[in-house]
Symmetry: none
């Protein structure tokens, strides 16, 4: 079964909202083995909507339409589909009763245009709306399945999960089970990673291997298709093993877990606490760590030492260091990491100092970054030259810090301290 | 000119990301008077991409393609467009030089597939990529303008704003001028705001008034249409005046400026420095302030006082306060705000303490938040009960702090201190 998603609504074409419904549905359809080859967005215009439905029918046999089921005049999705299929709209008693009870519950009078929402395409299967008024519909013809869903994600998502999915699975054939696994890499570019595993990407048909870069990271999405769940998992394991044999040193985690999640877990397991001294990142590293519930078991606190005098007066960076090496220097990073660890009585101290831009600093170019890691009396500093905007440099700095600390923790033995 | 946006990328069809590029471009095109009637998404497949380009040509005379310009094999947008238009790909020396310098800056070796990014469609106008490697392209034929932009929003957005827009405005006719203005509100819900100005929304046809809620804020988008720029601006001014007469106390800024931008500007104008003590927000407030270039003129630094002992030992919150009132208390917030101001020798101290969840703390429910503001020897504390997830509570706390401080600054006179 090949699916296509048509979103209806001028607010999408004006850029007022993003088409997150298409994203949600695509993910859901992939999970049940339905390929999605196209998304389309059309405005609240019957002729243009009809034309995109006609195009969709030529290339897909499942068409999901989202939006345009509401009470107002510019809501015309079911009218357009009905007229296109040569069907009438009929009053659905169940939907009307549900709309009436909705109005009673909120102590309001049923309006005439709300009653319009109880009209459905004749012969359609109704998908109840537990979180709003407009019901969804499924119409099956010989060539194609049409599904109409309401636009608000709060109504569409539960409706699809509870009723829509089942309507598709009943009596329709899917192309087998599709399972995905995402491998996450840091410290290597997309092109370099692909070069290292190019032959695997070319040879592999099941699972397929697709690289994707974002925010200075690269992920590989492995997608296996098999009627048997266990066999699909085995195919994924095998491909993962081959990939990690080549680029394992850049691998840090699976699926949606970020570097900060992985670091947080590692610290928790090692029973270590951390404190941070942040200059150019301005609190970003700490805010990422504390975004994770239960951060208090590993995180003590930190100092955002943005001004030079904060580095000197509160974090006790030596006058000499500031005068002779500058605040953007390995010496300053080392003192910051060591002193924040001591100041906060933490097991690990981490520091970030550098030039986020837009202007250079101390004669050092934008993107110059020093990260210090202090643990068990030993302090390590690494220098980076990062590209991109101010935002990108700050985020990448925080990620490099997490990745560096993960590496240090790999060889850390508590008995050495 | 009628525009259509074609996004290329299997990651969109798998639901891994939403098509936010289409949203961004649609908004931009509306602002310069170009109608967008369709969005399409196709995967990394040359035949299917060609077919959607053919469909687009029949209904639009501006086709913007996003994504698929990267270095890897599944990036095939320019190859497909070139082959469709019967044009060759040629090496662009300027793009190659920029790619080479990017690699040099980050101390890496130029890979062969990265060099591929310097290939452009012959006869195209090049849009430089200031934040990445793949250049954009504009190809004008008799019937249609094709614009190719890179997929990552961090590259696409600045490229379109700086180069793409100008390329479209040069020698293309727009359908009349559409001007938008966004009014930003905080501390009032969407429904409440809408109720207060319902009649204005209903009556107003030019400009139209559209409310939209996100992240605890409400924005009103005013869109005026007029052949004359000055007249369109006058219509916007008039509508804004009517709206602010009713809900002006919740208004804080225009267009894309966030609460943090507005606060930053206000502090700069008042020549005041700030320091922050953050508990539940974990650095989020400071990271938002320092995300703005030039933060060093107003921001000294701060302490993330996550653990109770950091509040006591470093920020000198009294033992008695912690014992008798708890760390989630107005007394603790007041001491934190005052003491961080003194510790960092700043003009303003701000503090955040509360329960972000998922668990309650000191018997206080999730969402209990105290914010302290200390300025010129006077300290003010406000209590909040916030709803939502851990992330939402943290972000709203930082926003409430900014809004509270903006209010305090309104009545602040430096001579009082």
């Amino acid at each position: 079964m090949n699916g296509e998603i048509i979103a209806v609504g001028s607010e999408l074409l004006l850029g007022q909202i993003a088409n997150t419904n298409a994203q949600f549905l695509s993910k859901q359809l992939a999970d049940i083995g339905i390929n999605v080859f196209y998304h389309t967005v059309a405005g609240d215009n019957s002729n243009r909507l009809k034309s995109v439905i006609k195009i969709a029918e030529q290339r897909s046999n499942l068409i999901i339409l989202t939006g345009g089921l509401g009470p107002t005049k510019d809501d015309l999705t079911k009218e357009t589909v009905a007229s296109h299929l040569g069907k009438r709209l009929v009053l659905n008693e169940q939907a009307l009763a549900s709309i009436q009870s909705y109005f009673q519950k909120t102590n309001r009078q049923l309006t005439e245009n709300s009653r319009k929402q109880a009209l459905v395409i004749e012969g359609s299967e109704i998908l109840p709306n537990d979180y709003g008024m407009a019901p969804g519909m499924v119409i099956k013809t010989k060539e194609c399945v049409y599904m109409l869903l309401p636009g608000p994600p709060k109504e569409l998502e539960p409706m699809f999960l509870k009723y829509g999915k089942a309507a598709l699975l009943n009596g329709s054939k899917t192309n087998g089970k599709i399972i995905s696994r995402v491998l996450r890499f840091f410290g290597i570019g997309e092109a370099a990673l692909e070069t290292k595993i190019e032959d695997l990407i070319d040879e592999q048909k099941n699972p397929t291997i697709a690289p994707l870069a974002s925010d200075g990271e690269v992920v590989l999405r492995l997608t296996a298709s098999h009627s048997d769940n266990g066999e699909a998992t085995r195919l994924l394991d095998e491909a993962e093993k081959k990939i990690l044999a080549r680029v394992g040193q850049f691998f840090y985690g699976y699926d949606s877990s970020t570097l900060f999640h992985v670091l947080s877990d590692k610290l928790k397991k090692a029973k270590l606490t951390i404190a941070a001294a942040e200059s150019l990142t301005g609190g970003l590293f700490q805010q990422e760590l504390t975004a994770i519930p239960g951060a208090s078991t590993i995180f003590k606190g930190g100092v955002v030492c943005y001004a030079t005098e904060i580095k000197r007066d509160i974090l006790k960076v030596k006058d000499e260091t500031i005068r002779e090496k500058g605040v953007v220097s390995p010496e300053c990073a080392a003192e910051l990491a060591e002193n924040i660890r001591k100041l906060m009585s933490a097991d690990v101290g981490i520091s970030f100092t550098g030039v986020a831009g837009p202007d250079s600093q101390e004669g050092k170019p934008v993107g110059t970054v020093f990260i210090g890691v202090s643990i068990a009396g030993k302090t390590e500093v690494k220098e980076f030259q990062l590209g991109g905007t101010r935002d990108a440099i700050r985020l990448r700095t925080a990620k490099h810090g997490s990745f560096l600390l993960l590496k240090v923790l790999k060889t850390y033995r508590p008995d050495v301290s």
